[in-house]
Amino acid sequence: MVAPELIRAAQAGDRDAIITLLREIETHVYRTAYYMLGNEEDALDASQEAMIRIYTKIHTYEEKALFKTWVQRIVTNICIDKFRKKKPSVSIDEHEMVFESGENVEERVMAAYIAEDIHEAINKLPDHHRSVVVLRYLQQFSYNEIAESLDLPINTVKSYLFRARKQLQSYLQDYQKGGVRG
């Protein structure tokens, strides 16, 4: 969590504070962008744009909203714009994926395949469904926080999330038929 004092200092015009703040949120911004856009290059591009926008708009953040949802709103908006303009490509092996699950090689390989499958499946989702999934699973946002970030009613958030999950498990069932999943 970014310290409120840091945010306030940044809003007051302290450039060191805004730079520090940007460094603190950098990974979260990138993570969302990566899963939204599906590849490293686009993610970096979008992240840079998001960071610059945060830098220039920090004074518009109002404390009544959570800072993290404000940040994620900016990122998801930029990403949605981006992938409406360009069809993202999936390249999951760009990143040295460190899989938390799986002690042994076999499990890790499986995890890698699964992640790849899921990543591909996520990329098939329409933008808002994708945003909801990304915020829920990569940022661990609650329904409310997702609603705040995407500026959607909470019921719509649930609807998108549930539909997305259903769609994903359906895609994965298809992969399963021809793939490695057990």
């Binding site: 450039r15 730079i19 993570r31 899921i118």
Partner: protein, 409 residues
């Protein structure tokens, strides 16, 4: 319960959104409905897999990569009208308050901040040097006379928008910034020199290849300029080492690199006064100069070493830039296309046009000494870090592969 309703329960269950009775309902139904049980299992598994998605991190330091662009933007944005310090625009009109924008930036070790600020200031300085008599002396005088007030004025500078006037008005209140031009230029390590004639952010390129700035423009005040430089430590051409020094050392509030900009607005008024006080001031300038020159107390020896090495444009192939004694430096690649340097205690490699090509994952302590050993070729760099304890670690960076590995020392 009907299956579609149960499905919603399943979904909410994945988000821990169910009440206890709802959980019971869900499990009760699943027990008797194989289809729903299968769906439930698939959803659970999906949710687990989604949860297990790798928490990726950016492959490069994003903030560092946008620093040049951030430097071109006023901060805070929008509240301060017309104070958009965009380097290119400075070229067009260097006398406007835009120049004061850089003032607000603290003299932190942001090479990019320095660059863009320098772009603005450098151009102004370059022009002044060409147009005014005794610009150098003015700098010296201002610098000297403002030492004590540095911090207070710094703070002011930091927080005020159109600093141009304030700086001007309080020429005295504008501490280092006033006298800073030289100092900061020097600190900027030659890049300033470059920017004098090249008001673009890509002055880095120039820095590496030539030093057309102050030196060439200072024909008539050559001796004094050198004197100031000497005192200040790093000569304009020694940007390299100095810059690193600057980067390595904790920021000294009273030494805003970009502060010099606004001073350009008050030259005329100062010029008259300068000559008179210059001599008197000069002798006193050394302590500050060293301070200024070394961007906050870096070993003077380091600065002097560099400085003595060249009053001429930074010659990065000069052995002094790779000498073992020089701890902080920036190292140019064999093809002159990339250079390694340290920024905020992190090793970075940039191309000559200023674009960051590699950012180390390691952030060192101020007391750690980073030393660039050599470029093995155009893409691999060796550097060492000697910690306060004396332990030395060696790394090999591959800019192309974007790797940084520890290798035996």
């Amino acid at each position: 319960m009907k299956c579609p309703e149960v499905e919603e329960l399943m979904q909410r269950h994945l988000d821990s959104d169910l009440e206890e009775q709802e959980e019971d309902l869900l499990l009760g139904h699943i027990r008797d409905c194989p289809d729903c049980a299968a769906m439930y299992e698939r959803l659970i598994r999906l949710s687990e897999d989604l949860t297990a998605l790798p928490s990726v991190s950016p492959p490069v330091n994003i903030v560092d990569s946008i620093m040049p662009r951030l430097d071109g933007l006023a901060f805070p944005a929008s509240d301060k009208p017309s104070v958009q310090a965009v380097a290119p625009s400075i070229i067009k009109d260097q006398n406007e308050s835009e120049m004061s924008a850089p003032l607000r930036r603290p003299r932190k070790k942001y090479i990019w901040t320095a660059l863009s600020g320098v772009a603005a200031a450098g151009l102004a300085i370059g022009l002044f040097i060409f147009d005014l008599d005794g610009p150098v002396t003015r700098h010296a005088e201002l610098k000297d006379s403002h030492a004590p007030e540095t911090s207070s004025s710094m703070v002011q500078d930091k927080n005020t928008a159109p600093d141009g006037n304030e700086a001007g008005a309080a020429a005295d209140g504008d501490p280092e910034s006033a006298g800073e031009p030289m100092g900061s230029i020097l600190e900027e390590s030659g890049e300033l020199a470059e920017t004098a004639t090249d008001g673009e952010a890509s002055l880095l390129e120039r820095n590496l290849t030539e030093d057309p700035g102050p030196p060439t423009g200072d024909g008539e005040v050559q001796p004094e300029e050198l004197q100031v430089r000497d005192q200040a430590g790093p000569a304009a051409g020694d940007a390299v080492a100095e810059e690193i020094h600057k980067e390595q050392v904790p920021p000294e509030p009273e030494q805003p690199v970009t502060e010099m900009a606004p001073n350009e607005d008050t030259p005329v008024t100062e010029a008259g006064e300068v000559p008179q006080t210059e001599e008197a001031e000069a002798p006193e300038s050394s302590p500050e100069d060293q301070e200024v020159g070394i961007a906050a107390g870096e070993p003077v020896s380091g600065a002097e070493k560099q400085e003595s090495g060249s009053e001429t444009p930074a010659d990065l192939s000069d052995p002094q830039y790779r000498s073992p004694e020089v701890v902080y430096e920036r190292l140019l690649s064999p093809g002159n296309d990339l250079f390694a340097y340290v920024n905020e205690q992190r090793v970075l490699i940039s191309s000559s046009d200023g674009e960051v090509r590699f950012a180390s994952q390691y952030k060192w302590q101020p007391e750690d000494k980073v030393r660039f050993v050599a470029w093995l070729n155009e893409q691999e760099l060796l550097y060492q870090v000697t910690k306060e304890s004396g332990e030395t670690i060696q790394y090999k960076v591959d800019v192309k592969e974007q790797t940084e590995t520890e290798i035996a020392y």
